[in-house]
Amino acid sequence: MKILYFAWIRQRIGKSSDDLALPEDVKNVQHLIDHLKGLSAGYAAAFQDLDAIKVAVNQEQVGFETPITAAQEIAFFPPVTGG
């Protein structure tokens, strides 16, 4: 599974993407976050405040309950500040 990180989430994790083989019980975004938090202190810090985190599955913003079993690309990022 391709996972992308942006802005301070990328900085806290220390890289801009992962290509992970996920356990079978990781079925939605919330499960994925729980899984990632266990990988290292950097991931745990990145996902500490979930109110400040948005997610896109296949480049569409969605909620944390969204299934990811058929996803090609998942991205985590802070609320956007462009314009």
């Binding site: 896109a56 500040t81 462009g82 314009g83």
Partner: protein
């Protein structure tokens, strides 16, 4: 039309391309967002290195290639559904910019001015809350990500259909 690019843009050339040979346009509105010398206001936390009286040296725009183009295309399509536009354009830059530099350009053209003004405001409000860009401001005391603004969310919400 939408474009995401590192390069600067020229408003006059963009207008000329959109309106060349057209005689049905009565009103044309442009919005240009520029990098300001002083940092964007942040929440009152003791951890913030940068406050609104901090002079910034650079503003770096990170974005999500692929999703950015999709998001801007969706926003532009939505504007064209809601208002009778003769032409529209969104150009958004990424990369390292300096105070005074142009960040974003929105152009709308319509037979009548109300449609052009409303659609331009809509495009700016929505791209500020729906397009995947993040601003990093750097000043003397270091670099810090700009926080999303509650009033940007409120501005975007006034266009949500009930």
């Amino acid at each position: 039309m939408i474009r995401v690019q590192a390069e600067d843009f020229d408003i006059a050339k963009e207008i000329a391309k959109l309106t060349d040979g057209r005689t049905d346009i009565g009103a044309l509105v442009t919005f240009t967002g520029l990098v300001r010398e002083f940092a964007t206001k942040r929440g009152q936390t003791p951890f913030n290195k940068i406050s609104s009286d901090t002079k910034i040296n650079t503003m770096t725009l990170e974005h999500y290639p692929g999703m950015t183009e999709k998001a801007l295309t969706n926003i532009e399509e939505e504007a064209n559904k809601r208002w009778p536009l003769d032409a529209s354009l969104i150009v958004h830059r990424y990369g390292e910019l300096a105070p005074g530099d142009q960040i974003v350009l929105v152009i709308t053209a319509s037979a009548h001015r109300q449609a052009a003004f409303e659609a331009a405001e809509f495009l700016v409000d929505w791209l500020k809350t729906k397009a995947p860009f993040w601003k990093l401001e750097a000043g003397e005391k270091g670099a810090e990500w700009v926080e999303a603004r509650v009033d940007d969310d409120q501005a975007a919400q006034r266009w949500e259909k009930t």
